[in-house]
Symmetry: C2
Subunit: 319 residues, 2 copies
């Protein structure tokens, strides 16, 4: 049977049994915000919660894909299953297209223990901020123990998505300051691990010093996590083990002190809030169009009914 005609339940069962095209198809359904997305959500949710997510973000060209590829190597050498969600809100590509600079990740494309997916979800309500957690939960529910979420760029959406991972790695380069000026504060806030990639270039000491003084300024609560700064040259593999150790160290830290559970719970409730808002917005759009809307419009224009009363009648008639 063709994938396109199979039910979400059917696809989900196949994906759980290791069927990669079925998994890819489910991700597309979520991406498009189709009705089946709700079914997938209901199936995934009770089975999710065991995968660990690592967000990787930084300015374009910082070397995130090469680092991600190196991290995949680390996880695979420990025989762990990994999924990569590569997110680029500004990309015109979608529907699982492989973005240009992700080609290097294709070293792992034939490894059944690695699943790579690019997404640029747009055009449906809530967009990436609603679909990304759904995608992660699906990858989790079908048995991926690690989910790497790579976002391209340092805009608000990218930072928000990367920052909602369990551990967030912010990748910069020597002399990074100028390129991310606009959202430095946002990056400082979400970073659990800093990576100075391309550290064979000049200016590493200055960048490290700058990061350290910014971290001092924004130092959190006493006894809290202090983000380490790791130097890497992703293209040669230098520093990659140290970076991964820093990620695992952060994971241990927040697992032990209970912050992991707290963070995840907080995120879930924020998501619920976002969904409620988006459903109401959907409802408002539906309201401002129908027969009652036209009737009330006429009433308002004829001054038979004031706008507030019209709004109330519209909302009351909506349920």
């Amino acid at each position: 049977m063709a994938l396109g005609s199979r039910s979400a339940e059917d696809l989900f069962a196949s994906a759980r049994a290791g069927d990669r095209p079925a998994l890819a198809r489910l991700l597309s359904l979520i991406e498009r915000g189709s009705d089946e997305a709700r079914v997938i959500s209901r199936l995934s949710f009770p089975l999710s919660g065991s995968a660990y997510t690592v967000g990787i973000t930084g300015a374009p060209g910082a070397g995130k894909s090469t680092l991600t590829s190196a991290v995949i190597g680390q996880l695979r050498s420990a025989e762990l299953e990994v999924a990569v969600l590569a997110i680029d809100p500004s990309s015109p590509f979608t529907g699982g297209a492989i973005l240009g600079d992700r080609v290097r990740m294709q070293d792992h494309a034939t490894d059944p223990g690695v699943f790579i997916r690019s997404t640029a979800t747009r055009g449906h309500l809530g967009g990436l901020s609603l679909s990304t957690p759904e995608m992660i939960r699906l990858l989790d529910a079908v048995g991926r123990q690690w989910v790497l979420v790579e976002t391209v760029g340092v805009g608000q959406v990218e930072v928000e998505i990367a920052g909602s991972a369990d551990t967030t790695v912010v990748v910069v380069n020597p002399g990074w300051g100028d390129s991310v000026q606009a959202n430095k504060a946002g990056l400082m806030e979400i970073a659990d691990v800093f990576v100075i990639n391309k550290s064979d270039r000049s200016g590493v000491a200055k960048s490290r010093h700058e990061l350290e003084s910014m971290l001092d300024l924004s130092s959190g609560s006493p006894g809290g996590w202090s983000p380490p700064i790791v130097e890497t040259v992703a293209t040669t593999g230098r520093g990659v083990v140290e970076m991964w150790d820093a990620v695992l160290c952060h994971r241990d830290f927040i697992t032990t002190n209970g912050e992991l559970v707290e963070r995840r719970n907080q995120r879930l409730l924020e998501e619920l809030n976002d969904i409620v808002s988006s459903r109401l917005e959907q409802r408002a759009r539906a309201l401002c169009g129908g027969e009652l809307w036209n009737e009330l419009n006429r009433g308002v224009l004829d001054r038979h009914v004031d706008p507030w009363s019209a709004a109330d009648r519209l909302l009351d008639g909506a349920q």
Copy 2:
């Protein structure tokens, strides 16, 4: 009986009979977004629609208040009743406080045919964009034939409010370009009449030329209104009559070709749309808090119910 304890209906009847403190109190109730604001809206709406509104906007210091004061003089010499709504979203003053540079308007403060009100409504849902049309309708309903809406600044909110008047006057100064760089396009879009105030200064010809070429670029439909450019020195009264003639000329133009009715209808429907959105937002806030919300939060955190189903149950339980 003290004003504070009188009902909105009672205050409204008094205001219609010319009671200024009652009118001021009603405006405060609208400003605060109190429950009575709805009652006032219901009372005003059927009685409104006959006042003509003139928006006056421009960068701070352009001379709007002096011009407004001169316009009041024009209207009063024709024995017309006028109300002025002076809006400053960024001002820390509220509740009818007279802003510093509006003191010159106080020339008219003792004239019973003139009613001046400053407002900086903030802190309630929808803010100025919802309360301003309500205030205008109230002033209209109590019998003010002309309502001048002066906004300070050229930000998006100010431009939007001024632009929703029947005729909009944009006040600039010689060499204005730099001071309003950020929102030139917005100003060009709303202007029905341009005033170059302080035209005794150098640079008038250049400013006029600049305005003319921008108007050429953005020229509307054939047979449409082409905004005249009037030079004034508001402090001496020079050009004020010409400016007011331009306003009256625009009024005739849009009254004759039906654009006035069209514009007002469009604005009313946009307002209805805004009210629906704001009511839904209010509802969303109310939903994310109660007993059902807490129960569903627990369900989501225990993974008994997925976020989308929780949102649906919340919304269904809301009506």
